[in-house]
Subunit: 458 residues, 2 copies
Amino acid sequence: MNEQPEKIFEDLTRFFENRKFADLRIALLDMEPADIAAFMEQELGETERLMFFRLLPKELASDVFSEFDADTQENLIKAFTDKELKAVIDDMFMDDTVDLIEEMPANVVKRILKNSDPENRKQINELLEYPEDSAGSIMTTEYVSFSAKMTVDGAFDKIRRTGLDKETVYTCYVTDGKRKLIGVVTVKKLLLSEKTALVENIMDTGIITALTTDDKEQVAMKFSKYDFLALPVVDREGCLVGIVTVDDAVDVLQEEATEDIQKMAAILPTEKPYLKQSIWSIYRARIPWLLLLMISATFTSLILSSYEHRLAAIASGATLYAFVPMLMDTAGNAGSQSSVTVIRALALGEISFRDLFKILWKEMRVAVLLAFSVAAVCFAKLLLIDRLYNEVTVTIALIVSGVLMLTIIMAKFVGCLLPLFAKKLKLDPAVVASPFITTIVDALALIVYCSIAIAILA
Amino acid sequence: MNEQPEKIFEDLTRFFENRKFADLRIALLDMEPADIAAFMEQELGETERLMFFRLLPKELASDVFSEFDADTQENLIKAFTDKELKAVIDDMFMDDTVDLIEEMPANVVKRILKNSDPENRKQINELLEYPEDSAGSIMTTEYVSFSAKMTVDGAFDKIRRTGLDKETVYTCYVTDGKRKLIGVVTVKKLLLSEKTALVENIMDTGIITALTTDDKEQVAMKFSKYDFLALPVVDREGCLVGIVTVDDAVDVLQEEATEDIQKMAAILPTEKPYLKQSIWSIYRARIPWLLLLMISATFTSLILSSYEHRLAAIASGATLYAFVPMLMDTAGNAGSQSSVTVIRALALGEISFRDLFKILWKEMRVAVLLAFSVAAVCFAKLLLIDRLYNEVTVTIALIVSGVLMLTIIMAKFVGCLLPLFAKKLKLDPAVVASPFITTIVDALALIVYCSIAIAILA
């Protein structure tokens, strides 16, 4: 799958069509589940896909199944016999089963639960109860646990006995009789210790944990901070209830970045990949902000109208109008530079509300530098370029570039404060701050521009 | 460090100030290197920091050192004796050493290289030659390798002998006599196999690799696609030269998301955390786009001016002006919704240029739906709200909402195509498409608005 995916996809198709199933299985064993799933979704029709799935080596089947889109999963489940469904579900990791159930319609969920082991069903139901976006909702219950008095040799025996079905064996957890988490030990540590050493003597007790109710983004950030491979999740009593593995943390980080990007672009966050989204779901994600911002632009119309007569009375009123878009766009850009910087730094945990004055002081100095530079260039541009097609006097050039300077500073002021206060009020900074910045800053820029122009020219 | 970081920081300070070094070392052994580094940077002055560093348990020192900011690292190195420096450098992972060297001034680099083992120095110099942003620049050379004829027992012996200094032992690499990569075997697989089995019989040969010259973002994306813990990096001859571990891949994914967010907000990408950036570096990152976009707004001024006389001749000319900001903002929002969606989907590998028609077809249907809804609401708003403060006739309301409908469709058209063509031309979609969308769409909206208004009303 490395150099030429097309070539391997062609091989698979040929083996499959010519019923060379032995060759097919050999080729499949060398492939990653994600690539097999991609092949089956891209190259095969629904009936072929079910036939192909039945040919998959048993140890690969549930891994491949976990990689499918929800639609493919649903269609396959509907075509599965109860026995097939049970085999796949029993072999899947608990967190993947929960993800699957969350995507399926009620009748399919019923069939999945009916075909799970009673023990698994209980765990699935518990996992389903954790709030969306919580650590509990992304954790899995397949971890290796030791008791403190085990020897290193005993620990390895337990890994050999139970490891095949665990999501990771590399970080193992030490619990007491009441399932309370008391230590963590890695396989590396086990390998480098004497075989007769006791687990309690080599385990690490300074454990970083997550609560089941912690926000999944906070949990994922711990992976990027501490370079963990897995993180234990405990309940309020400190009992171990599951683990989050680094692959799920990576997915959460990517999703959160995508969501923040969407919010900054005035889109409601969506979870599905773009090509899988229906027209209506894209529409629903985009229409609210588009409408809201269109309506809130009433303020700018109102401001322009209220100055209208006084501007019209000035000889150069029409000339002044010509620079409104430039002023508003520059103010918007200046504001979103600051707000986006602050929003991202908040998301990465680089800053918090108590850095308010440090941030404001920094932004204001940058704002002054930027305002002077942009205003100076604008002044020159007005007298060199815009004068060619418009009646730009030195007074007008001074007014326009002076107002530009003021609005850049105002925009940066609003742009850095708004996300910080949103965070403080436990609102989402990306939602509150980003799309609104333009509306607020536009209105401010217009008021300043019109009143200064009238005061000087009228 | 889990529940109360402040409490632990206080403990550390108390132990340190009261010279209770035994207690201090016990507390430190329970902490993560990232937290110790945070404590030392936040709570200690420069002299204290050096004293504190000398108290760190030897096995923690280089891990903590790797977590410091470049400034702290530079100051410490300047204060280190040659022996101290050598101890830290010898113990650091190769990729961290290379990161360090890339941040340090020339004289410090010289001292680092002088105090490295000749073998390490050779490797460092090789790693330094890989292009920035390549897989070679983020890989490390500390991996475990086996020969094919080793037994499982022999493999474990090798891990026990050499594992302590390896960045990961969980994925091991099988090479032939010429260092050519021929297989991968995980510790899990080793643990679950017979002790006398040969590595060549249990290794996985369908290996996904990266080339030293591959883009580091592409490499990081493979981690999120395949859920790897490590990825081998080979040269053009297929010889194993290093590995990338998942923690570095996570950092790359986070950095790339931050860079894309910055580019979308008209900021040049920066690498340092916000609070560590100087006023000048923030200024330099923001001024180019702010100036460029201010100057390119000349187009909108030019368009407005060129229609000026004809608009002024219309009785309701001033009323028409009042809706220019609303039209432009809505067009800008509609355009950036599409461009940002496409840019992110490109970055996540969900779409590529060959999906052009699929995307365009999808976006155009969404655009029509959005355009109708927004225009309908706008029409109602004009006659219900804006009429209260402005002379809005039904004709004007029809013109404004009609033009709004057209500009939303145009904005979505430009917004989805521009990033795709940028990608096709091997330009950065986030840079080319995002900040420019507004300028292009503004100009289009104005031309349509003015010409339609004049055609109907003049």
